[in-house]
Symmetry: C2
Subunit: 121 residues, 2 copies
DNA sequence: CTTATGCTAAAGTGAACACTTGACTATCCG
DNA sequence: CGGATAGTCAAGTGTTCACTTTAGCATAAG
């Protein structure tokens, strides 16, 4: 749970930058070199390399070097982690909202007293 | 698409902090006041208020003031946005990986030459 | 009325972030 | 070999972040 927290930190932080999300979009169409990732971006190569390092630290991306070119590819696992955190939260609170909605629909004013323990006012 | 990008920035940035994720977890069990959110955290009330403002700016949370207490509740829409970005990406690249897997399984060495345009070595 | 509570607003601080530039290394190509 | 390409490293800069402290202002409770 301690490392899991940090890894969520890193993943969400990595996703919070539009340039990095753009790189991920590019990479979801297939592997690419650092320069290919840099091409559409108006920023120095060095900056792009730094973004790639952030993506790699978050485990969203894995890279390997062949000769002088570093090839980047997506790593689905880290994204699944983030996605499952999100969907877990959403399920929880949609469930709660549904329950609340059901109570409001079913119960009329007469039933209110017996609800106090289950659901605060 | 222009504002959509910024809103993703804000949502992912909001999610990138463990204190804020903790608040969201608390809030998925039901609405809470700022002080209730602050209780489990070892940080000043003022800091918690700032976190709440970040959550509110990201539209993950909506707040309303009754008397002197500000009540916070979750807003599912923003999270759905983030979740759908994630799942869209994941679908795309899992699709790609499946296609690649199918090619590797079906085609044998003999077919390799004709693949060069579609997929680099 | 007085005091405690719940929050707000403002200013400051140190660390992290998103870049840049410039110098350098390794590899591929002709 | 020599030069272009692809990336790396280090240092510097302005900005944003995550806090803190201090002071203050409503509202609720005694």
């Amino acid at each position: 749970m301690l490392n899991h927290k940090r890894s969520l930190d890193r993943v969400f932080h990595a996703l919070a930058d539009p340039a990095r999300r753009g790189m991920l979009e590019r990479l979801s169409r297939g592997p690419a070199s650092v320069s290919e990732l840099a091409a559409p971006l108006e920023m120095s190569l060095a900056a792009v390399v730094q973004h790639v390092q952030v993506l790699e630290a978050s485990r969203l991306v894995r890279t390997r070097k062949h000769g002088r070119v570093r090839t980047c590819r997506i790593e689905p696992a880290a994204l699944a982690t983030a996605e499952s955190w999100l969907s877990a939260r959403r399920m929880l609170w949609e469930q709660r909202l549904d329950r609340l909605g059901a109570l409001l629909a079913e119960d009329s004013v007469a039933a209110r007293k017996s609800m106090k323990r289950k659901e605060g006012p």
